[in-house]
Assembly symmetry: C2
Homo-oligomer: 114 residues x 2
DNA sequence: GGCTGGTAGATGGTATGGCCAACTAGTTGA
DNA sequence: TCAACTAGTTGGCCATACCATCTACCAGCC
């Protein structure tokens, strides 16, 4: 391929560094959630077409950073689910990230309009 | 180091895929510009602390994609400057990118507030 | 019992692109 | 001659979203 524009969906680039905040926000909104459910609510709603291979590593990173806690729940219908909850640190990180994002988005939008 | 949060400045992640649009917008605003000037106007204004190693490759990519044209200008004060101009394709890409960005930023902001 | 299909989670490799550091070169002034 | 500033270039690093693939559990069906 030698087409000039690789076209690599800009949106997937834009998600970088924001996806974790989106996940934190979804957890804050829903109280708790398991990966597969998040996957579908995020994909059906605002942010299009996320796949498991994208979301699960995010949850893993968030747990490594102590921003979420997880808990296996077995015995329901289907395979066991791993439910995630925000920690206090996660809530703080979400607030901070929200502020940073709105600031950045404003500056960027202004830069694009000039 | 074992601190949980690697702290890798979120903003630098957010710039991914948006910086090229910011550069296109700056060129559209100023008519033409050379790299070092762009560097300073972008850094002084909205988007903080950009370095040469970040901006010059962007200009190179934009030229490879046919979105900008460049022209060396020698004989002024100081080293030769390479001036960049938007092409028609660049203007179209800017419009398209602007629309995509505002849409994404809106959806993202809504997702963060929920 | 075996099949199939949907649910749930995990993993590895790839490619993108901003970052830093170092480098070359031209001009100006001491 | 030397230093400082301007201007552009290059190479390697690293985080992270993407894709494809894999395991495993359960339900319904024959």
């Amino acid at each position: 391929m030698s087409l000039p524009a690789p076209r690599a969906d800009r949106e997937s680039q834009w998600l970088k560094g924001v996806l974790d905040l989106a996940v934190l926000a979804a957890l804050a909104r829903e109280g708790s959630a398991y990966g597969y459910g998040l996957l579908r609510s995020l994909a059906d709603a605002e942010l299009g077409g996320l796949k498991g291979g994208t979301v699960y590593p995010v949850l893993g990173r968030l747990e490594d950073e102590g921003l979420v806690r997880s808990e296996w729940v077995t015995g329901g219908a289907g395979p066991p689910r791993r439910y995630f909850f925000l920690t206090a640190g996660g809530r703080a990180a979400l607030d901070e990230g929200r502020a940073g994002w709105t600031s950045f988005a404003d500056r960027m939008t202004r830069a694009l309009e000039g």
